[in-house]
Amino acid sequence: MPKRGWLGCSFPILAGMLIVFLALFVVGFLSGPLGRSMFGDVLPNWLSVPRPDPKLPAETIFHLFGFPITNSIVAAWLTIVGLVGISFGVTRRIKLIPSRWQSALEFLLGWLLSFCQSVAGEKNGRRFFPIVTTIFLFVIMNAWLSLLPGFGSILVTGSEGVTVHLLRGANTDINLPLALALVSFVFVEYFGIRSRGFRYLGKFINVGQFFRSTGQLFRGRLKAGLSGLFTGFIDIFVGILETLSELVRIISFTFRLFGNMTAGEILLLIAAFLIPWVFALPFYGLELLIGFVQALIFSGLTLVFLTIAVTSHKVEAT
């Protein structure tokens, strides 16, 4: 058995890997802008890197029934096909002793179910599991698929004759995080109304105390009426604040996901531009982690707000 050095490899293999890495680093350095500015004249022309040009709105590729289809929509379709394909393929033959793919999927779903139940309790966790898992899987697949080669490198002719990229990370188009935030908002309100009836809306329109105190004023009880009136005003104000905070939640969700993903995309573009091939490696790791964390945050916050909407105040007061 050859002598084991670092990384578990024998010494010749380790030396070979280091030499390959150094060669990639040198070639990348020379072809990037740093090498070009230092040794500009002696380098051949084909050893250059084009300047990255991140555009914020997603570019249209073609039109379908009058709707402009952008490259981020195509990437979202790819995600959907991937997710549905994996789920469909694994669940065709479910066995009692699971195969590898089935046990991997079971592990993932079991972990997500235990996450939901740890935050929302046993029964509610099972009720909120579909929406939370859908949001989590969709966001994480979008984020991780956009790291594969092909995203941002395949060029096609766009709708106005401009060359555009065929695929772009779906989370970097602001419409997708907005759509997910709206879905989350609608589901929070729906579950709140379904669990507590229309009295759930009484959290936002809190005029009960106000009308009661005006009734007291009319019946001649001035002191109780006036203090009740003050409390009524404060209740109405708190109700307006609650409404505002629900609506601002949509914007906050949108910008959190969009900002993280766009910043990551621009970071990868710049890192790949400065020293190609080598410098972008740690940033890829960072992007993997950020994709996972952002998916967890989006679905976790949805879960927390769902739990708050469903719990009645009598339970919270204990």
């Binding site: 910008f255 959190r256 969009f258 900002g259 952002q294 945050i297 916050l301 927390v304």
Partner: protein
């Protein structure tokens, strides 16, 4: 002052001043999480979960600043 110079100044000031808050905030959250972990290493699960959640809230503010900077940079 020319518009180009003003634009550069605005972007730099926005990002520089705006990232102070979230940076300090995340540092404070990490500090308290480390303290809690030191006192009670068995409660690692809930502490880490809540820490990640709080850091996401604080980081969102920094992302708003980034959006403003990107929008400013896109004005020609």
């Amino acid at each position: 002052m020319e518009p180009e110079v003003m634009k550069m100044l605005a972007i730099g000031l926005a990002v520089g001043l705006g990232m102070l808050g979230p940076g300090l905030g995340i540092g404070l959250i990490g500090y308290s999480a480390m303290q809690a972990l030191g006192r009670n290493p068995e409660a690692r699960g809930p502490i880490m979960t809540n820490m990640i959640l709080s850091i996401a809230f604080a980081e969102a503010i920094g992302i708003y600043v980034l959006i403003v900077a990107i929008i400013l940079a896109m004005i020609v």
